[in-house]
Every structure is written in structure tokens, then in C-alpha cells.
Amino acid sequence: MAANSETLKVFRPRTLAELLSLKKRRPDVVPFAGGTYILYGDTKKYPDIAAAVASMRHLEELKRIHRTERYIELGAGVTLSEIMRIGGRIVPPALAQAIRTIATKPVRSLASIGGNICVRPQRLTLFPVLSALEARLELREHGGSRWIPIARFIDQTGDLDISETEIVTRLRIPLSEWNYQCYRRLTDGPVSDRHSLSFCGLANADRGVLTDFRFVFGSMDKTILRNREIEAGLVGRKVPLLSRDINAICASFEELMQQFQSGFVSPFQASMAQKMLRWFLSSIDN
């Protein structure tokens, strides 16, 4: 493995078309934008990277930021620092909160949004937030492209549903107005560990009635937890929510967690998830 630093094959596609063509010929080539997931925490002097990488730093097509009234579109190669520089009025606050919890400023200047969601072994920080925001992803391969909701980017087992020849090129994040947005991460340090849990909650209320509600949990394995039935059950209720409503939702959520508990979360994470949800529900219009 240590030989990778020396024998590493580096491709430098100059355009997106070249990259897609390369991926078709060499599906084993790893797209390398910031590379922070690969290198962060690897303390060897000569790090293990991969057998072959495609350096994406020069692909301007993947760094574009485009904004309309309804959404903001980010190229997969846009760094987390660049997203923060766009500004608070455009970037959803929950997304900005989530980005701020990731590592440090110098790391965020290298790390890309595409890299954050495309890590195979784990679902990283931004996945739950983008799930709650119902972002859409463009996946492209040579000769084709598709847009999918981020929820369909992972399959039933939590693995990424992306073929070897595809890459994520753009993310489209709806710019809906949310009265209440919140992101919280539970971890003992700047780097997530197996106890880590993240939560994103979004809610809208109009004239004392809850009109929209979403919540998503992510732990450090592959599972993202969101349940639309529970969410739908709250829409139309008066806010601030009554204790019995909150208790009912939390009870439904606990049942849901129990289904997942053995594979998804530890008792500790399950308890924390309950607390976070309860706290968010209590804070709506309160």
C-alpha cells in the first residue's frame, strides 16, 4: 500500500468530458478534488491514496456556482470555504451551521461539497442536511446524465447508489424559506467518531400552525434516518406544540429507532437522537 505514493498514477483531465471518458475507460480511477477525507488522519509520511487518481482541481465546470430564485446550484468541486463565502442570505443557515462544524478553516478550503457526500464507507456531515433540504444531485457518465433526489443516492443498505463510471457533478439546493432551521452535531472533537450523531431540523409555521416539518438524523455509519410519516403527522398542528403532541412524536420515533437500533445507532445515540428531536419540537415558535 505504501507503494501508492510512488507508483500512483495521476490523470489530469482538462474538461469534464475528458474526465467522464476517463472514468468509462478506467472505472478504478478515484476522482480527487480536495482529497481531505483520504489524507485527513493518515499520519504516514507517504500517505496511502489510491492506485490511480483523476485530479479535478482544474475542472472549472465543477466549480461553478449558479443561483436562481428557487435554488442554488453548486458544482461538486466547490469547496466548503467557497460555500461559506457566498453568504448567509443565500446559503441555508442549517447548511452553514453544518459546514462550520467540519474540521478547521484550512481543511475547509480544500474539502469539496462533492467529496463530502461521495465518501463510500460513511455518510459525512453534510448528508443529513442536504437530505433535509431535499437537494438534488446530477450524476453524469460518458454519454448520459441523471438528476436524482439525494434520498435516492443511497440504497436500502446505506451504500451509495452510483455506478463506477458515474460522478456527481452538481448539487441543486432549493432555497425554500424556513422559519426554523437547525443543525447539531454530537461528537467529542472536530473529527466524527463512532458515537457521532448529527441532526438537521427544518420547520415552517404560519399563523400559529405548522405547515411543513422535516427532520433527518445521520450517524457515522451509512444510514440516514428520515421518516416522512412522522413528519406528515405533525403538519397542521398548532405551534407551540403541546406536550402530548411532542410525546406522541417522540414515541413514534422511538419505535422507529428500535427497528434500526442494532444496526444503526447505539443506545447512547438513540437517546441523544430522542433528546435532539424533543428539543427541536419544543423550540418551534416557543
Binding site: 501508492n4 505514493s5 510512488e6 500512483l8 495521476v10 489530469r12 480527487f32 480536495g34 482529497g35 481531505t36 489524507l39 485527513y40 488522519g41 493518515d42 499520519t43 504516514k44 509520511k45 507517504y46 500517505p47 491514496i49 487518481v53 485530479s55 482541481r57 482544474h58 470555504s81 474540521a103 478547521t104 478553516k105 484550512p106 481543511v107 478550503s109 480544500l110 472536530p190
Partner: protein, 160 residues
């Protein structure tokens, strides 16, 4: 592999191991001792350099990834007015980072003040708090930054 990039204003080309970290490239291939690799994990911050205008941990950047990039180290900024102001500010405030993290602290101050000429405490905390080498306290850093900001303000009035 061959890598060409701009280092401290000059275009350079080296033949190196593709996966070799930029921190080691700067130290070993270019004999620039101010960049100090520390943890090799992107955590301690002592290897910070400026890449394409952004502060970055050079231990997280493999050699192949700096093709066509602009890299600035402390050596490259020496002698510039802004950098000298920072050095002078540190000295006047009695802020003496240790030899190991000195460059990273200087460059962090440089980038922070370039982006935000009058940073608040919260901004300074955000930029400096995660640097693990706590040879000097945050109070010293606040004083140094305050001094530099004041000095620049009066210097710019003088220039007008």
C-alpha cells in the same frame, strides 16, 4: 512525476513522488525550512501555507495536486509591506510564537487580515483556536492583531 507550479512568485518544476506531501516537498525539495510538518494529519496547523490565496495545511496536499497552483510560504512573503507589518505587530505586542509554528501563525494572521482588515475576537478565535501549538496564549494573539490593525489604520491615514 513532474509537477510545475508557482512557488513564492517563481515558476518551478520538480520531479517528485506523486503522493509526497506538499509540506515535505517544500522542506526537502526546496529547502524551505519555515514550513514545519507536524502531525501529518491536518490537525496541528504548523504546516500552513497559502495555496491559491487560501490558507491550507500543506500536509494534506499531495504533490500532484499542486500542478499550476500558486503557493506562498513565509519565505515568499518576507519583505512585503503587509508581512513586515505583521512581524512588527507581533514583536511590539510581545507575541513570540515558537519556531515550530511561527510561520503558520504569521500566515494565518496575514490571510485573516487580508480577508478582514478589522477582525473581531470571534473571527480571530475562529482562525487561531484550532491551532494545536499553544506556545502563546490567545490573549497575546488578540493584542498582536489589535496592534497591527491600529498601525495599518494610522499608516493609511498617513499615506492619504
Amino acid at each position: 512525476m513532474t509537477v510545475t507550479f508557482t512557488l513564492n512568485g517563481k515558476q518551478v518544476t520538480i520531479d517528485t513522488i506523486p503522493g509526497k506531501r506538499l509540506a515535505d516537498v517544500l522542506k526537502e525539495d526546496f529547502a524551505l525550512p519555515a514550513t514545519r510538518p507536524g502531525c501529518y494529519a491536518g490537525v496541528c496547523g504548523t504546516c500552513a501555507v497559502i495555496v491559491n490565496g487560501e490558507l491550507a495545511h500543506s500536509c494534506l496536499i499531495p504533490a500532484f495536486a499542486i500542478q499550476d497552483a500558486e503557493v506562498l510560504t513565509g519565505e515568499g512573503l518576507e519583505g512585503t509591506r503587509e508581512f513586515d507589518e505583521i512581524l512588527s505587530g507581533f514583536e511590539h505586542a510581545g507575541y513570540r510564537p515558537c519556531a515550530n509554528c511561527r510561520q503558520s501563525k504569521l500566515l494565518t494572521a496575514y490571510v485573516l487580515l487580508t480577508l478582514n482588515p478589522n477582525p473581531e475576537r470571534a473571527n480571530i478565535d475562529e482562525w487561531f483556536a484550532d491551532q494545536k501549538c499553544s506556545c502563546s496564549s490567545l490573549t497575546d494573539i488578540y493584542k498582536a492583531i489589535d496592534y497591527i490593525v491600529l498601525h495599518r489604520r494610522s499608516a493609511s491615514r498617513g499615506r492619504k
